[in-house]
Structure formats: structure tokens, C-alpha cells
Symmetry: C2
Subunit: 191 residues, 2 copies
DNA sequence: TGAGTTAGTGGACAACTGTTCACAAGGTCA
DNA sequence: TGACCTTGTGAACAGTTGTCCACTAACTCA
């Protein structure tokens, strides 16, 4: 795969020619595989989110609520490790210039948030919540995860201590968030 | 000011020559003001965070806890409006390629989080918390704000409805987070 | 076997890039 | 007035970029 998002570079500072060079191929050969750099980017978005989606399904499969957070963070960190380049790509591009890629990623994250909201709805405490509030909560959790991934890919490559610290904080933040759930009075119950 | 981070472009797809052109000046004249694009970027980071810092001081000045969140979100959204270009710049560059700029911004955000933690320590409920937990909470709140700013600068320019919606969600998320505070058992109290 | 597809080559192009240089207009101030 | 600094100019440089072109080696499969 063409993953030369080497040492902290951004996607749109990557030129077609450099990608081709890194792939050991002449610039023209690039066009045999992708119409443009945008097309390459979109392919990467798709591939990245396929693995991400798989990860989530795994993380939320029939776990007791108590372990769910700990296990989710564990799996998240593990996958960031295994698919580092993908995550770097997603985190960078998600906020970066290229409009079409940015929106593609935003859409994927929205979808991803919705799926989490759906899963959350199964918890007894959350069954009474409005859809709107569920989305809000899911958004909050996803934001925390995104920030965690961002911090992780920004940490030095082989720094287990730093990563452990990031994971520790992330887990606390998620647990704190969930702690609020029983005390939130969702709109529906006041109508 | 040199703020032509026009319509969704990223900072490092901006060339020195284009910046000069947009400023109505010959490329060489750029060097009279900045040593390089990196230097320009660092100047922008500094300027952006100066306004951001001012905003925060204002937002947290002697407000009752009840109004603090609502007012903070209000001020945040207002300032994003007024300094749109700055915020676009910060949000984009904060995750984008250029290593030196990215770290400059990360550092500013860390500082900013610490300041929030200090202010939070004044609340009676939080007085018992460990420093570590305060940082964790501040980080969570800051993450939410960053995500809010990101969503705002990605929304269409003149879309008050979209912005109002974003603000509404942000406020809920912050309120939900604070709702957890009284129920968190900070490490210190168990030692 | 031979026709057709796929993946790659190498050269060429105009456009744009960062940076250097010697030089000119305008303001400040002794 | 004249020296000096600041801010600008215009030409030039070597390097890089995206894209087009005609061509070739290797693979598939009827």
C-alpha cells in the first residue's frame, strides 16, 4: 500500500511525484491507479474507516457496561498501533485543507457517531433518552476518542509510557462522562 | 493582516508567492516581514492565542457556576465569528503537517488547559480533586470546545441556524460533563 | 498461438516554487 | 542637507510540480 505519510507530513504537502517516487515508480504510472491525489485520498479514507468500523463492532460486542469503556480504550489504542498510518492520515486530513477529503471524513465520523448512538440506546439507563440527546452523548464520546487518537499519533513512535498515559486519561474521561448519564434529565421525560 | 486562508485551504498548501500576491506585493518583499512561511505561521499562532486567551479571561470572570457554561459557549461562538480566520488557522494547523507549527499550537492548548484547570480548582466541589483529575476534566472540556470550533469553521459561512445548532449541542455536552463532577471520586479522597 | 489488457517507461511541456541579487523610493532624524 | 534605515521592485536561478504523449514489457485467456 501507498502509505508514505512519513514522519508528520501532511497529506496535501505530498505531491503526486513524491508518492510515485516513494512507490518506486515513474510519475506517469500513478495515473494507472488513481485519477488524482484526491482519488488516492478518498480511497484511503474508505480503507481507513473500514478497519475503524470493524474495530468498533468488535469493541462493543456483548460486553457488560462495566468493562465496555476499559476494553474500548484498550482496543482503540491497539488499533491505532496496528494501523498507525491510517489513523495519522484520518486525523490529519480530517481538519486539513482539501475540502473534498475533509468532508468525506466528517461524513464517516458522523455515521460512526450515529452507530454508537444506536448501540447506546440499548442500555437500560439510556432507553428513555431522546434521539437528540443520544447523539449528543455519542458525539461527546467520539470527540474524546478523536482527541485521544490525535494525541497518540502525535506522541513519539515508540514511547509506551506516553501511550499508556494517554490511554489512562482517555479512560478516565470516558468514565467521567458516563458517570453523568444517570443524572441527566433528557427532554422527553419532561414533556 | 495577511489572512487569506480563503475558503477551506490549508496553511501548507499556501505558498510564499501566493501570500505575497494576495498581499499585493512582490515575492521578495515577503522576506522584509517574515523569514519564512514557518515564521509567518508562528506569528499567527501567537496572535491567535493572544485573542483566545483574552476571550477566556473574559468568559470566566466572576460568573456564578450556573451561568458560566452558557456564557462561555456564547462567548466562544461570538469570538469564532469575530476572529474566524484565526480560528480556522488554529484548527487546521493544529492537526496538519508542519511539525513546528503543530507543536506550537499543541503547547498553547496545553497551557490553556492548565489555566482552565487552575480556575476550576476554585469551585467548592472541585477543591478536593487531585491535580491530575483536574487536568483530566479540563482536557475533556477543552476537547469539547475544540471540536465545537472545528464544526463551526466547517459550517457554511453565513448559516446562523447551523451555528445555533452547534452551540446548542456544545452547551449540552459541557453541562452533561459538569453533571458528572459531584459523582466522581477523585483519587485523593480514597487515599 | 496470438489478440487484448494492464502496468510501467521516458521524454517533454508550461507553470509554479523558494531564494538571491542589485537597485530605487520614502521617512526619520542629527 | 545628507546619511541611514525601511519597504518595496524586477530580473534571474535552479528545482519541482501536474499532465500529455507514444512506446514497451508482461499477463490473461479464448
Amino acid at each position: 500500500m501507498l502509505l508514505q505519510l512519513e514522519a508528520g507530513e501532511s497529506f496535501d504537502s505530498l505531491s503526486l511525484r513524491r508518492v510515485a517516487r516513494a512507490a518506486g515508480v515513474v510519475p506517469t504510472a500513478f495515473y494507472r491507479h488513481f485519477e488524482s491525489m484526491d482519488a488516492l485520498g478518498l480511497a484511503l479514507v474508505e480503507e481507513s474507516f473500514r478497519t475503524l468500523r470493524a474495530m468498533l463492532r468488535e469493541a462493543r460486542e456483548g460486553l457488560p457496561p462495566g468493562q465496555m469503556i476499559h476494553r474500548s480504550v484498550e482496543i482503540l489504542m491497539e488499533h491505532v498501533h496496528q494501523h498507525r498510518a491510517h489513523f495519522i492520515f484520518v486525523v490529519r486530513v480530517g481538519y486539513t485543507g482539501n475540502v473534498v477529503l475533509r468532508h468525506a471524513i466528517r461524513n464517516e465520523i458522523r455515521l460512526f457517531t450515529s452507530e454508537l448512538a444506536t448501540d447506546l440506546a440499548r442500555f437500560p439507563v439510556l432507553r428513555e433518552w431522546t434521539t437528540d440527546d443520544l447523539q449528543m452523548l455519542a458525539g461527546l464520546l467520539v470527540n474524546t476518542m478523536i482527541a485521544t487518537v490525535g494525541a497518540t499519533v502525535d506522541a513519539p513512535v515508540a514511547a509506551p509510557a506516553a501511550e499508556a498515559e494517554i490511554a489512562r486519561v482517555a479512560e478516565k474521561q470516558l468514565r467521567l462522562t458516563m458517570l453523568a448519564v444517570p443524572h441527566w434529565r433528557s427532554e422527553r421525560s419532561s414533556r
